[in-house]
Amino acid sequence: MIKGYAGKFLEIDLSSGKISETKFSDEILKDYVGGRGLATKILWDRLGSKWEQTDPLAPENLLLFLTGPLTGFFPGGRTCVSGKSPQSNGVVGSTVAGEFGVELKCAGYDGIIVAGEAEKPVYIFVKDSDVEIRDAARIWGKDAKQTVAVLTKECRELLHERFPQKGEWKEPAILYIGPAGENKVRTAVVAAKWTHAAGYGGYGAVMGSKKLKAVVVKGSGPLPEVADMEKVKQLIHTVCEEVYESELWRRWGTGSAGYSVGAKTSSEPVRNWQEEWHDEKSFGVDQFENRVWVKQYWGDFGCPTTCLKVAVVKKGKFKGAITDNPDYELQAYLGTNLGVFTPEENVFLACLIDDLGLCGIQTGNVMGFAAELFQRGILTKEDLDGLELKWGDVEAFAALAKKIAFREGVGDLLAEGTYRAALKIGEKKKRDVLQYAVQSKGIGIGAHGIRSRKDYPEIYSYACSVQGGDHTSTACLPLDDFRSELVMIFNDSAVYCYFNIFGVPRQVKFDFYKAVTGIELTQEDWVNNKAMKILQLQRIMLLLGGPDFKWNPKVHDDNPPRFYEPLPSGPYKGKSVEKAEVRKEVMRYYEAVGWDENGIPKPETLKRLGLEYAEKALDRLH
């Protein structure tokens, strides 16, 4: 058995109530590692032959909670959530911070594979090898904070009753959904600790479709044995020493970017990306720090960065709103993108989004889209159930977010996410509204624009990514660049927080992998072989798509139309990207990753990677 793994996975079929254990061979674990990589392999093996027919929100879909070999060892614990995505119809490796993955490994499992659909709302409770499916009637419908409070109390009471000799039990780790997930909203998250979320992919909706409100885990064992503990200790130290030098993220988290990505790099979504520049000093991180932060360093298992900040609104209309920071993505998507430029309003909206179990990025994207349609008179007050969706009207956006989470009125339409909502609105209004949808492959684009060319994504990054608009998985050349999707797949597969690798020499993560697993791995081997294999499988499943639609690379391996409009303001006014140039770069990327001119993996690429088993599926792509 490879070191660093607990060695077994839980299989839970919610339809039959059957609970069992399964193992994966050393070969599979060596090739696909864990997290995103292993999710891709599991989904291919179990759903690949019927991928197009599999509805992500039907019982046939699988919901995966996976750790990786480095979870708990590499500073900054996370858990990977995956399945067939109800946003892209492909596979997204979506990770969430917190202690869940650590507790799971300490309980003796590397992951949980959930199939089927429960008859009535349930939650799963894992205490080491004791696993049970429990009634969730009293928490179904509850928001994030209520859910966490009830489950923490209930499960600690169970632990105290069943294992009284222990003394005081620490709280178990919890992953849960809010009302949005219950209502199968495609922008719903799988969440932890009130504010942490696996957002990209929309797996909250998958969890809701299975009537699974939460998974609660307490593991009382140690993390698995490693190949070289002295080396692991030394590497933890190496990573932390580097990170302690990082003033930017330790001090402000990503929260200094709410001002600077707008004002300086001019790549922040403003009013549904109609602009990418602002100079609103009211949105400066100093204002957040001095007005709403109550805790400057907040983090998860083993984290040296602790980039989160706990924020509370202390006075005024939004008094009592609580969330983290917000981080840059939520400052942008629940701030500037909606024309909101004050910390209190931003914290209020982020708090509401957390409580409802919505994704701040995807929901901010679809609300910005709706507001632009209102601005243009395409959606009227009547279409919006009486809401006047004016830029900066934070209460109107709050009302809309609730409608989305509960699928009420127009919220039912927008709960489908930007792309699907755009198709439906376009049909109803008999005009093209996709031009205002800032998304790629059904996934709203992360808050880093490409027009000024001063931010990190390349002009083809979102167009070519196997995770669409996901800003944490950007296509980039050369393939071993630190911004390359292939490099990022390692973080999501070994499963740790990639904010703890900035400034750390790139070899360190592979040294870490070796110290934990005993397996030698080089950047070259990772990028050219292992990550490449995962990428090809993700690409095939993304293109197989279905059942509601299928992506056509010629049309959809492209930027949203907005990115071809010139920037209307700021230091990079007039800049945009040229369609021909993007096309050229897309072709260059195809060539580099072994895809043909139609964007389809070449048979020889699959052969070289030992993916002959996937070759037959290529016929289904043409």
Binding site: E168, K170, E171, K193, P222, Y244
Partner: protein, 175 residues
């Protein structure tokens, strides 16, 4: 020859705790050579998110746990002031847990003995990592004639106070 150590105390500033749990990692690595949160002598409780704090021995002036032990398994170190567990003598009866006003001692997950902070023989590893990251929740100070026992409180009690300190009155809704 080692010089005589002075008794110490770990001063604790709960509201600064980031919840990074590096103290648990350092403690379990030191004592068990594993990363093992449930076997750590210092444990971070998070009964409410954002309200994390380390829960560990306060070395009460009257050491009620030591007095309560029916097996003479607990003693006080002359050198550091820590409560020492004789793992062979301990019968895992849990009477020290009930005697502790904070219910701080807890049973080892796999071995048949209680876990209590031993101050790492005067060089607490949890304090080191907390200082290295400049969170400074934990700090070593010389042990004086202060009321340290006040800090031996149950996780629920500490949470009840901190949740209001951090979130205001609204905090009580999350208990």
């Amino acid at each position: 020859m080692a010089t005589k150590k002075e008794p110490i105390w770990i001063a604790r500033d709960f509201s600064k705790c980031s919840g990074c749990r590096k103290c648990e990692i350092a403690c379990s690595l030191w004592h068990e050579n594993r990363i093992w949160p449930e076997a750590s002598r210092i444990r971070v409780f998070m009964l409410v998110p954002g309200v994390e704090f380390p829960h560990f021995c306060a070395q009460c002036e009257d050491y009620p746990c030591v007095k309560a032990c029916p097996a003479n398994a607990l003693s006080v170190s002359d050198e550091t002031g820590a409560v020492l567990v004789d793992e062979n003598a301990c019968i895992a009866c849990g009477q020290c847990i009930d005697a502790c006003p904070g219910r701080i001692p807890h049973m080892h997950p796999t071995e048949n003995h209680i876990l209590i902070c031993d101050l790492c023989n005067g060089d607490p590893q949890c304090v080191k990592v907390c200082q290295e990251g400049s969170w400074n929740v934990l700090r070593v100070v010389p042990r004086k004639d202060y009321s340290y026992g006040l800090y031996a409180r149950k996780p629920e009690e500490i949470t009840r106070d901190l949740v209001v300190k951090i979130y205001g009155e609204k905090g009580e809704e999350f208990l």
